[in-house]
Amino acid sequence: MSIVTGILKSSLGKKYIMAGTGALLLLFVIGHLIGNLQVFGPPELINNYAHFLQSKPVLVWSARLGLLVILVAHVTTAVQLAAMNRAARPVTYAPTENVSYGAKWASRYMLLSGLVVLAFIIYHLAHFTALVPGINGAEDFRKLRTVMHGQSVPDVYGMMIIGFQVWWVSLFYLIAQGLLFMHLQHGVSSAFQSFGFRNHVWWPRIETLTKIVTIAIFIGYALIPTAIYMRVVGADYADKVRAELKQDGTVSPAESPAAGKETH
């Protein structure tokens, strides 16, 4: 049996795929968080970062492609494993309160938490990357632009501030972060287990590391919509942008949802 069939076909190999792709996605989640935390600085900071990314299309597109491949591998393997696991017990037990002895809640609902996070990723891409109008409950984000180094670039700071001032958007982001937290709490430590890095000395350390990393990620990501919604960050900027948009006559907040509907 070659290493490729061993990894693709065996139950252990599929867990290596889950652990490996999961680890790469975790790295992205951490990097993405660091990038986004720049919203707590002046508007120029994160817009400059956006401008930097935009000026490196090859880099950005290869990263996007890589992430897509990793995500697809993670999700398809998860679905395959779930089907295999379900088939392994065709007749289920009578329901009792005893079902989960020893098993943490997060570990029993990895597929569910993962699928909700996947749905969130799709919304998040439509929201801030594709800038699909009409799904953000606010302005048409394509109209928010600013000038950086003499070039017209998307006003990422404005989009984030205006976007998260919408209560249901912020709420959805918080729920998704909660589920991601749950998913990672089990996923990060289990990835070590799947690759075989575990013994009675290291397991408590791995669990502590998992706790620190997942709590830090949750707090970091939850802080952004919360601070913006509570008008702690960028409230004046948002009001200014809204006023400008109204003056230009290009778009008024009342019209934008309807405009969004037409394009759908």
């Binding site: 049996m1 139950s11 570990s107 089990h186 575990r198």
Partner: protein, 258 residues
Amino acid sequence: MKVKLKVWRQKDRNSPGEFKTYESPALNENMSFLEMLDVVNEELANKGEEPIAFDHDCREGICGTCSCVINGKPHGPHRGVATCQTYMRSFKDGDTIVVEPFRAKAFPIIKDLVVDRKALDRIQFAGGFISVRTGSAPDANSIPVPKENADLAMDAAQCIQCGACVAACKNASAMLFVAAKVSHLGLLPQGQPERYKRVKAMVAQMDAEGFGACTVTGSCEAVCPKEISLDFIARMNRDYAVALLKGDPKPISGGGAG
């Protein structure tokens, strides 16, 4: 004391099964769970009904023959205790106790609470052995074994192959069993010659039998009557990865001694 039993009754592999409820006769609370079933069966037999079929042998927690999922938990309410060592004093007078067979596609039901666990034997046949010289027994301690390895190997060797790990796992995965066997032999010098072949062969057989994969929920560890640790699954994962990386070695010349 008296209890009410809600027991899974199934005539054979192909008939549909269902729960039936029975009232136990008066019981001594120091009876074991299996003795309680004996008493209930005696009464059923006297009434001309079919007794409840269940697996048992040593009744002292060492053979791994007894099974049963009691109130949703394989081997009943305690940690590190098999069904045969579970006593009626762990239940209350008037309790309703739900008794089911171990459920997994790889464990077809033979009758009532008896399931066919030969899938585990087939995994053992695939690689759970070592090659030794036959003849007189070797001198004790002729092969040095580090104390830690000997201890760990003994922990893994405690597995009595009852299949409770499969019954408990939400994925009906046999990882804990296979990991215990792979680790037991892989930790000792005598198990080294086949170490990597063994893990590949046993995992391949495990997958072929239709067991699920590991989600690291830890329920297998929680119900194991011998409290085998999840650490061994990590050890198996590690050995399997090394085995895949090593590949299948082939002779590089035409063979022969020269």
